[in-house]
Symmetry: D2
C-alpha cells in the first residue's frame, strides 16, 4: 500500500480534488492521507473542513497557518508558517507522494516542504495562464513538482515547454468537472433548505446571478473599489436575485469583505443573499442553474464552460486563461460590467465544451498513479 | 535614487555578488541596501558577515533563520523561517528591487517573500544545471524572478526556453570571476598570516590540494560515508599539503562535519589544515595556487576553469553542470578519487576558459540595471 | 538619552499607556520608541494604529503576529509568533528598557523576548486579580519583570507578596484615568460626527447603554451562548439606545463576533449601533455619558469607578477584581442581566472613587523612571 | 485512563524525570505520552532521544525548534518556535495533563502552550533559587502551573510564598536522585566500554575530575573567557584524569564550545577526555566515582550532595541555590579555581545529605498524581 497525502488548503482546492481523493481512497493500492489546512478550518471562510468530514474524509492533520493581516506581507508570512506546519506533518505521516493543487500560496508551502523533504510531488492544474502573480507561483510549483496532471492539452504543452519531462506530464482534465458529469444538477428550495445565509431570503427556483470576486494580489489596494463597481452594477439589474459569495483569503481579502459588508448593510431588501461556502456538489447545482456568473472565480471558466453557463469575467485575474465561448471579459467599471451582464442574460445557455476534461479525471488520474513508481525527477 | 537590496545568506553567496554590490554602491542612481542572513551570521560557518563588514558593507538587517537539525525537514523549516524574517525586513526597507543569488533554500525564502510582496526580483545564476535538487529550486526561483542575469550563454538560453521573456534575461558572466581579473593572485605565508585554522600548520608557499565537499541533499544519510572516502583518498597522496574547508549548512551538514571532525582528531600531524571561511579575495588566491581542487564546490567549476586549475569533482552534486576542460568527475570511491587526483596533479595548469564570463560582470550588470525601469513581469 | 520602548499590542493597551507615552516623549532624559503590534494593525479590530498616528506616535515598528483561528491553540501560537517578531525588533531598536501593559498574550510575548534578551522590563497593571487565565499570565509576567507600576495599593501589596523587591514596585495609579482628569468629557453629535458605525444611527445626546463583552479564554466554546444572553437582555430594555463594541482578539473572538453579527442582521431598526474602536479620548466621553455599562470590559471597573458610572459585569472574567460601588455582577443569564441593568439604570450616578489613581499616573511614572538606573532584578 | 504528557527538551530534563516517566508508564490509571524536543534530537548535544528510546520511551512526537545562533535573541526566538511546535502537538495528543521540568527556555515554551490551551500543567523543580535569569523563568513557570512538585521543603515553602495554593504544592524530592538509590554505582572500563569520546583515552578505574560548565545567559559574551579559566586551572592539576562534558544549548553555548574545542586541539595527550552525553544511569556512575566535580552543573549540587561527592562551583550560575556541605564556590579565576580543587581533592567523600529527596520521588509523585482530579487552578 502506498500512502498518498492530499493537502486541501482552501475551499476551492477541495472541489478541485474531491473526486480524486475518493478514487484514491477506493483504490486497493493506496492509503489516502488528508491534511486540512489554512482557511478550510476557519469559520470566516466557511469551514470547508466540515464539508470534507461529511463526505467521509476525516483529516489526518488540521493545520492553522494563516496570519491575520490580508496584506502582501502577511500572505508571504503565511506561506512561511505553512512550511513550518506542513514539514512537521509530512515528517510524521511520511507519505510516498504528496498531491497539491493549483497556484495559491498554501500550495507553494506544500511544494516547498515536499521538495526539501525529498517526497515526490504531484501537481494538479499546472501550465495554466491567468495573467497575474498566480502565474509566477504556479510555474514555480511546476518546477518543484515531480509529476504533473494538467487540465487541458494546452496546459500540458506549456508544462512540457517549460522543460518538464513529457513522460511525467499527463492530461486527464480537471477533477472538478467530474462532479458535473452524469449528476442530477437540478436545484430546488428543498435541496437548499438548510444553508445558512445573510441578507435576503432566496427562492432558488427563480432566476439568479452568481457573483464571486476575489482580491487580485498584484493590484492590492484596489479591492474595495473593485468590488463596489461590481456590486453596484448588479444592483442595477432588476428582476433577478443575486447570490454573493465571500472572497478567498488572499492579500486584499479584507478590502473586498469590507466592501461586501458595507454594501450588504445598506442594501437589505434588494434581492441580495450572502454565502460563505457550499459543498462541492451543492456548488455544482448553483452554478449550473445560474442565469449568469459574474466576477473572477476560475470556476466560471472551468465549470461554467463545461455546463455552458454564461459568465462575465471582471478584471485581470483570469485574463489570459484558456476559456470557452461562454465567457466575456469586462474592466472594473460599473457601466461596462452592467452592459455585459445584460448581454449575457440575453443569451441563455451556451454549448457545453470539454476544454478542461470529460468528467472522468479523478478515476483516470488514480489509475495512472497506480502505474507509477514514484521517484524524484 | 533607486533602492536595491542584496540578500547575502551564505558565505558562497557573498563571493558571488561582492563586485556587483560594490558597483551598485558606487553608482549614482542606486542606494545599496544589504541583508546578511542565515549562516553568514554563524561562527560555526565562518561568520561571513565580518568579512562583509571589513569590505565596507554594513548590513542594514541581520536575520537569523536557520533551524538546528541539518535534516531535510529542518531545511524546509529554515526556508519558512527565512520567509517570516525577510518579509518583515523587506516591508521595513521597501526596496525598489531585490537581488538574490543561485539556488539554496535561503534564496528560495528571498524569492517567495519578494514575489508575494510585489517587489521586482533580480536573480543571478539562473539556468544552470547541476543534476540534483538544486535544479528544482533554481528553476522555481527563475519562475518567480522578474529579471535574470545568468553566468553563461547556455544558461541564458535555458532560462529563455523555460518561458522567460528574452528581454528580461541577460548574460554578463558571473561576478565571482571579477575577483580573479587583473588581480594579484599570488600567495605567501605573509599574506595568509593571520587566518585561524585547526589541524597542522600550513606552508602556503609549498604545494597543496584544496578540498571542499558539501552534503548532497538528495542523498541525505550518505554524507558521512562520502566525506570519508574523499578524506582517505587524500591521506594516501604523499608529499603535498591538504586544505580542508567545512561544508555549507544544508541537510546533511552535520554528517559531513562529524566525518571531518573525527578524521581530524585521528590524523593530526599528517599535513591536513582545516578552515571555516576566507574573504572572497583570499579564497581567490588559495584556489589560484592550488595544485588540485577536490570535492564538489561549484567554485571548482567556475573560478577554477577561469584560472585553469585542475579539479576532481566527486559525486553527483555538479554532475550536469557546464564545465571547462580542467574538470574530471569521480564516483564516491576512495580508489577512484585517488587515481583521478594523481592524474590531475600530473597535468599542472590548464588553459583559461571564459565560459562563465570575462571578469567584468559586476560593473556590466549594474550598468544594465541602471537602464531598467523595474516592473513585475 | 535613554531609549524606552513601549509595545502597544491592542486597542485597550493603547488607552492604558497613552499618557505615559506622552510624558516619556516630553521628558528630556528619554527617547520614546514605539511598537504597534497584533490587532492594533487590523481593520477587523479597529486599526488602533491610526489613532496612535493621529496622536503623534508614529510606530518605529509595525509587527503582524496574530494567527487566524481564534482557538486556544492559535492564541498560543500567536504568542510564539509575537516572540519571533518582537525579538528581531528589540534587537534592532536596542532599547534601555521596555514597557508592557497588563495580561494579554501579546504582553506575554513582549515579556519573554525582553527577559531572554536581558533588557529591563517595566510592567504596568501587575498584581490585579481577575479570576481567570489572565491571572496566570499576569503573574507570570510579574515574575519576568524588573520594575512594576501597579494601579492600586492592593495590587502593589500583592506584587510584593509574590516575592518582588518592594524597591522595584510602585503605585501611581492607572494612566488610563489621566484621560478622565480635568478633561471635557461631554458628548454631542457634533463631536462624534465622523465615526463609522454599522446598525442604527445613534443620537449621542440621548441616553444609551454601552456594551462590551470579550470572550473568556477559559470557557472557550461558550462565547456564542454568552453574548446572546447579553444581547437579548439588552433588547428587552426599551426607550434607550445600545452601543455594542466588538470584542478583543482572543480565543473565542469568532464565536462572540458571530453572535453579534447574526444578532445585528436580524435586529436592525431596534436601536443598536455597532462600533469597532474609538480613540481613548472619545472612549472616555462615551463611558462618561453612558447610562449604564454592560459586559466584562475592565474599563467598566477602572474608568467607570473613577467616573461613578453604573456597571453590570457579566460572568467570571473580572469576578475577583478590586472594584468600586458602581459595579454589580451578573451570571450569564438573560433574565438576571436584564434585572440588574434595570436596577442600575435606576441609580443614576455613583460617587467617584480613586481606587485606581488620581489621574496623574503618566507624569508620575515618568518622573520615577527618570530616577531609575535600569538594571535586571 | 488519563493521558499524561511528559515533555523532555534537553538531556538534563531527561535525567530529572526518567523515574517519574517509568512510574507513570507502569501505573494502571495512566497512559504516558512523551515528546522529545529541542536539543534531545541533536547530534551536537548528544542525541538524548536515543537514550530515551533504549530505555523504552519511544517519543510520540519529535519536535525541532532550536534556532541557530546561540544569542540571547535566538534563545528568545527558540522559545517562540517551541510554542508553535508544542501547540500543534498538544492539540493532536490532547493530554489530560502535561509535565514540565525546571527552568530552561524550552520549559517556558511548554508552560505557555499548556496554559493557553487550558491543559493542567504540572511543574517539577519550582521554588529553587539559582541567582540568575533562570529564577525569573522558573518563577514565571510556577505562576503558569497548576500543580507543583518541588524538590526540597524550602522550595515548597517558596512556591507557597509566591501565592500558590498549598494544596497544589507537594515535595517528594527530585526524581533524579531515584537513579542513585539502591543502585550499583560502581564504575569500570568494561561498563564504560562503548562510549564514544574525543581526546585522550580514559581509564575509568583510575581517579578523575568531572567538569561541566554551561554558559550563563546573563553574562553573555564572557563564556569564552570563563571556560578557559576553568580548563587552565584543571590543566595544572597533575596526576588525575579530567572528563570534560559539552555545555547545554543556551545563549553563549558557542562561546563555551569554541573554548573547549580550541583547548582540546592544543592539549591532546594531557589527560583530558571529551564527552557529549551519557544515559542517566551511566552519568550516575560517573558522578559517584568522581574525585571532584568542577563547573556549574546543578547535578553537582543535587546528585553530588546526595552522594557526598566534593564539588567546586564556579561563578554565579548556582550561587544562591540551596546546597549541601560538599559544595564550595569559586570566582571565574584560574588561580582560585585551582586552589579550591586541590582543597576538595584533599577531603575525599562527604556525608550523604537528603536535602533533595530520599530516592523515591518518581513513585511518590505518581501516587499523588493518581489521587488528583486535574483542574486548572
Amino acid at each position: 500500500m502506498k500512502k498518498i497525502c492530499v493537502v486541501v488548503a482552501s475551499r476551492m482546492n477541495y472541489g478541485r480534488v474531491k473526486t480524486l481523493m475518493q478514487s484514491i481512497k477506493d483504490h486497493n493500492d493506496f492509503d489516502l492521507l488528508t491534511i486540512a489546512g489554512a482557511s478550510t478550518l476557519l469559520e470566516r471562510f466557511g469551514n470547508a473542513v466540515d464539508v470534507m468530514r461529511r463526505d467521509g474524509f476525516t483529516p489526518d492533520k488540521e493545520l492553522y497557518y494563516l496570519l491575520e493581516g490580508s496584506l502582501p506581507m502577511t500572505q508571504a508570512k503565511s506561506t512561511g508558517m505553512g512550511i513550518l506546519e506542513l514539514s512537521t506533518a509530512f515528517s510524521e505521516l511520511s507519505p510516498d507522494a504528496i498531491v497539491t493543487v493549483a497556484d495559491r500560496f498554501e500550495t507553494m508551502s506544500t511544494a516547498i516542504s515536499a521538495s526539501y523533504m525529498n517526497i515526490p510531488l504531484i501537481h494538479l492544474q499546472g501550465g495554466e495562464v491567468s495573467g497575474n502573480i498566480d502565474d509566477k507561483v504556479r510555474n514555480a510549483i511546476t518546477k518543484l513538482s515531480d509529476y504533473h496532471f494538467t487540465c487541458s492539452d494546452e496546459s500540458r504543452k506549456r508544462v512540457i515547454e517549460m522543460g518538464e519531462d513529457p513522460d511525467r506530464v499527463f492530461n486527464f482534465g480537471c477533477p472538478s468537472l467530474d462532479l458535473l458529469n452524469n449528476q442530477d444538477l437540478s436545484i430546488s428550495n428543498e435541496i437548499m433548505g438548510d444553508y445558512i445565509y445573510l441578507g435576503d431570503e432566496i427562492n432558488w427556483e427563480l432566476p439568479y446571478i452568481l457573483m464571486i470576486q476575489h482580491p487580485v494580489t498584484t493590484s492590492y489596494g484596489q479591492g474595495f473599489f473593485q468590488i463596489n463597481e461590481t456590486l453596484h452594477a448588479l444592483s442595477e439589474i432588476d428582476d433577478i436575485q443575486k447570490i454573493i459569495m465571500w472572497p478567498n483569503v488572499d492579500a486584499g481579502t479584507d478590502e473586498v469583505s469590507k466592501g461586501i459588508r458595507m454594501f450588504r448593510e445598506k442594501n437589505l431588501g434588494s434581492g441580495f443573499t450572502y454565502h460563505k461556502n457550499f459543498s462541492p456538489e451543492i456548488y455544482s447545482r448553483i452554478i449550473n442553474n445560474a442565469a449568469c456568473c459574474v466576477g473572477n472565480s476560475s470556476s466560471f471558466i472551468r465549470e461554467a464552460s463545461f455546463l455552458g453557463v454564461p459568465a462575465v469575467m471582471v478584471g485581470d485575474r483570469q485574463k489570459d486563461r484558456e476559456h470557452g465561448s461562454n465567457v466575456i471579459f469586462s474592466p472594473h467599471q460599473k457601466k461596462e460590467i452592467y452592459k455585459r451582464i445584460l448581454s449575457q442574460l440575453d443569451k441563455n445557455r451556451f454549448d457545453q465544451e470539454n476544454i478542461f476534461g470529460d468528467g472522468f479525471a479523478g478515476i483516470n488520474i488514480t489509475k495512472k498513479l497506480s502505474e507509477i513508481n514514484f521517484t524524484l525527477k
